[in-house]
Symmetry: C2
């Protein structure tokens, strides 16, 4: 069956902002995308070719949803894998593959995968109770991460001394040695069914220490040739060893002594690739589509240096969202806001992002700071 | 009222491919776009925030359509102006303004406008009958253009000798002296309500002599500094003299003796600006939105050289469209197809376009030729 302007259907589990930008890319190739999300007002609901309200975590819903799709993909990884496995067994293409999502969905299995495949990562122990953590007290300071269900800074906490033990997760978790890292970087890779692999340029992330979300990132990262080569080799290796079809976002630490370690990966489009819409010949969203639709991958070259700032709901405001400073922001050359179509804001909710394009890295960072002061999401 | 993620509505008359790409840009800023088109399967019908089936040439339909919109714009110029004038008189913002569309909609008034404003254009006479044309036989060879209703190569014909007189239009038309031109170029300008004007870089058009449609274009045009300055001055002048709010596509001839003449203008996004989606920091579609929404205009700088080829329905095929050679096309670096979402093809129907990005102009032209041979739209 032809994919373009036809009865072909790509099923998409999740209808958030990542799905929204994927839909924009799908319009170029006139690919029909059918989207599943529990929120009837999800960012995708108005622009999907078809929008089904329902849970992507429910077996029956996902299985029924996939029936008339030829290919099924995701924009979030905590989906019902049993339904995807059944659809796959019945001949549907599910990309990324359920067996790959299964490895990544549980941070404990993910870490074990790195160990089994000689992929460099921080030392860790698996823990199921506070008692387990107490036994590994020598590991502190460490990050205590929930195996499943963590997202956007949730399900991760730092344990520094024995006094923090009472905070530890009691569900299946892991304890990961805190890395004395110099930088956090990321590379988004793509792999299609034919085994073609392409890497996007490396990005460098700057975190806000308070709410532990990426505050802004810029690309390309300011790293040495040696670090770049290590990072590219790791990103390619983990992609090929997983054998993923689709996008893989590989987040890495650069240690003080010049080593690169995998932090974690996500089997989908990612916050660290939003700037590619404006700064690279092919965006991460188009690349994901090409990969899961078994099309040749696009040129990932950057034509411009770029930064990306998350636009979070202002602290202290909840309710109908209102954007303050938008005209002033748009007046700055090379500044492009993306809003996620969320009618209501709450403190630190991801409401959108701003891409900044400027080939002078210093000017770029100044504009980031300018935009952070200008543009606010409050409520009426 | 805030424009973003709110109850604000932008009304769009026309739901074709130009509207479709405008909608993609509107998603970035989460602007609600309500679209009117007579074709229930128009390219916009699935992705508009709201889609109303109806005629944009009918007074009552357009007037009713505009009632709940704060701003109304167009993607095609043969719309009902009386309804737009009434909406404007009642306080709606209509951009481009009906009075500007009125000048452009009729090629006879448009030509007179150039004359009245000292804007260089080819000599012409107005004609209402074959008799009028016979009186001006000395004008031949000339282009005979219908005052109203011409579009995409229709309503224009060349009269070379007296023997062609029987073909002449008998409706109100004009006879325009055939220009011995070296090149045809275009500049897209934008002007917002505040009077800010920005120009896109100049593009050069290459026509197919058989069906008189643009076969491909590339940007920037290969012209001298002097020609560039003349063209930019003319484009800015016609924009400011019309006082248009929105986009203006200014098509111009470069004569053999180094003069620039206006061919015609269109008060909207235009075929000659499609490549800006991939090759310029701000696309023509985003720029049109910024202009009609009274936002600051974006940076029009090109980051890459580009070409754009129209993808026309193959001669001899009518029916459900089928794309042949898509994978091979996507495998060429820097080649990006855009499909317009038309389920059926017919000979020479505009089904999409392909943007090619390559900083070497020779390679770019080779790729154009390669893609023209590879990618075909046929029917099942």
């Amino acid at each position: 069956m032809s994919i373009f302007s036809s009865d072909f259907k790509l099923g998409l589990l999740g209808g958030g902002q990542l799905g929204r930008m994927l839909l924009q890319a799908a319009i170029d190739l006139d690919v029909h995308v059918k989207c599943l999300d529990p929120d009837p007002e999800a960012p995708c609901h108005k622009i999907a070719s078809e929008f089904i309200q329902g849970s992507f975590q429910d077996f029956d819903t996902v299985y029924a949803f996939g029936q008339d799709c030829q290919v099924i993909t995701i924009e979030i990884e905590n989906v019902n894998l049993e339904a995807l496995e059944k659809l796959q067994a019945e001949g549907k293409k599910v990309f990324p593959q359920p067996e790959v999502i299964r490895i990544i969905q549980d941070k404990r299995i993910q870490k074990q995968f790195y160990l089994d495949n000689n992929l460099p990562t921080a030392d860790f122990v698996l823990t199921d109770s506070i008692e387990d953590i107490r036994k590994n007290i020598g590991f502190l300071p460490a990050f205590n991460k929930l195996g499943k269900g963590g997202y956007d800074g949730k399900g991760v906490q730092k344990l520094t001394t024995e006094a923090d033990l009472s905070l530890a997760f009691t569900q299946p978790s892991l304890l990961e040695k805190a890395i004395d890292f110099e930088k956090e970087i990321a590379i988004i890779t793509a792999r299609n069914e034919q085994g073609e692999v392409k890497l996007f340029p490396t990005v460098e992330m700057v975190f806000n220490p308070v709410h532990n979300l990426v505050e802004y990132l810029f690309a390309p990262a300011e790293i040495s040739e040696d670090i770049l080569k290590q990072a590219q080799e790791i990103a390619r290796n983990v992609t090929e060893k997983l054998g993923i079809v689709g996008l893989l976002a590989v987040e890495m630490f650069v240690t003080q002594d010049g080593k690169v370690l995998i932090n974690e990966v996500a089997p989908r489009t990612h916050n660290s690739g939003h700037h590619t819409i404006r700064a690279n010949h092919t965006s991460q969203f188009e690349q994901h589509l090409r990969a899961v639709l078994s099309l040749p991958l696009g040129d990932t070259t950057a034509h411009s240096k770029a930064a990306m700032v998350n636009l979070l709901g202002e602290d202290g405001y909840s309710g109908e969202s209102k954007y303050v400073g938008m005209k002033e922001t748009l007046a700055i050359e090379g500044v492009y806001p993306f809003l996620y179509g969320k009618k209501t804001t709450k403190p630190f909710r991801k409401m959108g992002h701003i891409t900044l394009v400027d080939n002078n890295l210093e000017t770029l960072k100044q504009k980031v700071s300018q935009v952070q002061h200008l543009l606010k999401v409050i409520s009426e």
